[in-house]
Symmetry: C2
Subunit: 458 residues, 2 copies
């Protein structure tokens, strides 16, 4: 029995390892276009600045390590054709440019996603980069070494743009960030965006919101960015405006693509084609809060999906399920941590909920305990039923508060449930009543009496 996996980053390598664990007889081959498999892509912004010192640190496992487990990982190999009827692949070895054929009994598509580069004049100039793969970091690193850019411009105020802004500042560059919408960190509510912008500005980043880049100009290499009548001189541009799932190969083979543009899979990570599973950044899933289809490509989810796809592909049965996601995410920008789980207020409204929310700034330990710092938490709930729909956190303790709320969402708790939740208290670790409890109590105070149907802990 031969299992072939297309793509060797998070989902693909997790699936391979899991399949091997369950079945020592299985033949397993992973094809990977990039030169290294098993890359921690989330670490790339930190490699850029040297916060992560060694590029090898981001390679969780080399092809040799996979070979020790009898998993063949073929890097610099592009799968160019897929015939799901005959279970055949056409593959090109990018090092030699030779093409060859392969076959599979079971297939996992884990082709990931790619960064988008908008079709703007000058986007092909030297010095205009995306940041998605380790090879991108290599190229940016070489460019920085050769040209010693002093001024850098980030296009896009999402996770990648914000993380890159911090890391280019660490290199001593004068950094500007341009965001087309009227605020950065759009997945969050306006309070969080304001705090992120303040953090950027406090660290010397020039923030331009509501500005769409018109053109990159320069002679040979990048010299300036034009937007809204302005011209910003710059020696380096990194574009982080979005990513797209790599679905073309699968789509051409007849694998059904979902409404989000990513591959449609069921809860067992099975595609529409027999013996073909898919996992990671190339598939869509369900947001368990809204019940809607969602494409939220993230490394942790890719790992979890890879485990399910690898297990089911190895057993050939519906052994494991991947239920869906909450849309949980977190990033750090300078000293500010920012996390969310579930739906933002805007997303909740779009999903048809009658949204109520309560936000507060609270200390991360007893107010009298040394080092107490404030963090922000907002709970978002359905006013009709009390059900928790989402949470956003920023500042000290954002990671803890986000994860606690994610667990509450996973258990489908309501805000009245959270008023009496038994969380851990000691002076070094929080206020006597967690911000989660405080925010839930505010919601209860606001809405309980108006809506007699909801009572604490019922």
């Amino acid at each position: 029995m031969r299992l072939v996996i297309l793509g060797g980053v998070a989902a693909g390598t997790k699936a391979a390892s899991r399949a091997r664990r369950l079945d020592s007889e299985l033949e397993i081959t992973v094809y990977q276009e990039e030169p290294e498999p098993s890359i921690s892509e989330c670490g790339l912004p930190y490699l850029l600045s040297g916060v992560v010192g060694d590029r090898e640190d981001l390679i969780a496992r080399t092809p040799e390590k996979f070979a020790d487990k009898a998993i063949e990982v073929l890097v610099r190999h592009r799968v160019e054709g897929l015939d799901v009827t005959r279970k055949k692949l056409s593959v090109r070895d990018l090092r030699t440019d030779e093409a060859f054929g392969d076959t599979y009994d079971r297939l996992i598509v884990a082709t990931g996603a790619r960064a988008d580069l908008p079709p703007l004049p000058g986007a092909q100039l030297e010095g205009v980069f995306k940041l998605r793969f380790l090879t991108d970091t290599d190229e940016i690193g070489r460019y920085i070494e050769e040209r010693s850019p002093r001024r850098a411009t980030i296009v896009g105020g999402g996770y990648i743009g914000l993380e890159v802004a911090e890391n280019l500042c660490r290199l001593g560059m004068e950094v500007s960030l341009i965001e087309g919408e009227d605020r950065v960190a759009l997945a969050y509510g306006p309070e969080v965006s304001e705090n992120v912008e303040a953090e950027l500005e406090a660290n010397g980043v020039g923030v331009y919101t509501g500005e769409k880049v018109a053109e990159f100009t320069g002679e040979g290499h990048i010299g300036s960015v034009r937007f809204g009548g302005k011209e910003l001189e710059t020696d380096l541009v990194i574009v982080g405006v979005g990513i797209s799932p790599n679905v073309e190969l699968a789509a051409e083979a007849g694998v059904e693509i979902g409404a989000t543009g990513a591959i449609r899979v069921d809860r067992h990570m099975k595609t529409s084609i027999p013996d073909v599973w898919a996992a990671g950044d190339c598939v869509q899933t369900t947001n368990l809060v809204s019940g809607r289809l969602a494409w939220v490509p993230l490394g942790d989810t890719a790992n979890q999906m890879g485990r399910v796809a690898g297990t089911n592909a190895a057993t050939g049965e519906e052994t494991l399920e991947f239920p869906g996601i909450l849309g949980t995410g977190i990033f750090k920008v300078f000293d500010l941590g920012v996390g969310k789980t579930g739906l933002s207020e805007k997303e909740a409204e779009e999903a048809g909920f009658e949204v109520v929310s309560a936000g507060l700034w609270a200390y991360d330990r007893a107010v009298y305990y040394p080092g107490a710092q404030k963090g922000f938490l907002k709970l978002i709930a359905d006013g009709a039923t009390g059900r928790l729909l989402g949470a956003e956190a920023a500042g000290s303790g954002a990671d803890k508060l986000t994860d606690v709320c994610a667990a509450a969402l996973w258990g489908r708790l309501s805000y009245p449930d959270l008023v009496n939740i038994d969380l851990a208290y000691a002076p070094p670790y929080g206020p006597a009543l967690s911000p989660v409890i405080q925010a839930a109590t505010i919601l209860s105070g606001k809405f309980d009496r108006a809506r007699k149907g909801i009572r604490a802990s019922e």
Copy 2:
């Protein structure tokens, strides 16, 4: 309508504030024996060492502040008699030793708990202290100032003993800790106890487990502690061997006491007597994991109970409920954070569950991200149903992991649910798969195939 509250620490003052908020007409009087109300008792060990600089920092609100909200707080007043038939109290003003009578329409008993001093020879010697009230800290502080003790002995290896050990070390004392059982931190499993003992020893604390104190000796003041044939010279002893609920007044008045020895209340914090509610360290509740009665006196729970009792006493209705607890707790000893929620393995076995568990040490951020440190997490579950029963965490991130597991318990999740839980990942905040997910995955690997009834995410 007159509401009288017996006790003015966490539950009593919370109940008073909450009642005032709901009913501006209510007459509210709080009787409090200690000289200050609204004390953050959990902060006392840190006041001892000066980590908390000012004793006023631990007084959340003075009687004057309460008076601003038309809440009368009478400190240094002991309620000596309670007649629940006639709704009368007899009160003694401890400053003048004058006795007087009072009446109530509604009563909240929030008399708290007291530290136990074992009936050992020499326990009354000067220099042998308990640590429960702000006045205890005052006395210990005066003794330290007068006698400059060099050697201190802690009796009891629970939360208080461990926190006090750290704080006496900060004062430069040579500290020993004696625990009667064979390990410290008995509420936890042996892995945690080992780590706590190692942390104590690494910081110079002499740890004596399995040793019962026989006698305190000294001339006038404490000079040594005798146990198991040993004699330890010491200039100061702090005993933290347990606490007892203050229920005598209520019990004598006919209020029903529960099997745990604390006051029995229903989910509305009502006692067995009409118009008498109770809250805080003097009441028992239900452990929601085991379904058993529990007496776990902690400040955060006292606040939550106080809110419910204050609300229901103000409205005279069953407006709010307090559902019970998980037994969540956390403490810090030197640089080690230690938390738990739900049942320990021992408690789970005693409650009749077929216990399975998985423990692991995992990094608190991506392994390549600077500052990555390991923390311990153990998940405890019911092998028959997969239901999560408890968790213990130690080391970096213990507070986050404990609270995430507490939220999972609050939502009655099973370990297979946790395999795919969508927690927040970015390199500065955790490994790609949270230790919670890793431990749940280990449990799934161990037990899923053995028990076909359980599947991930079902």
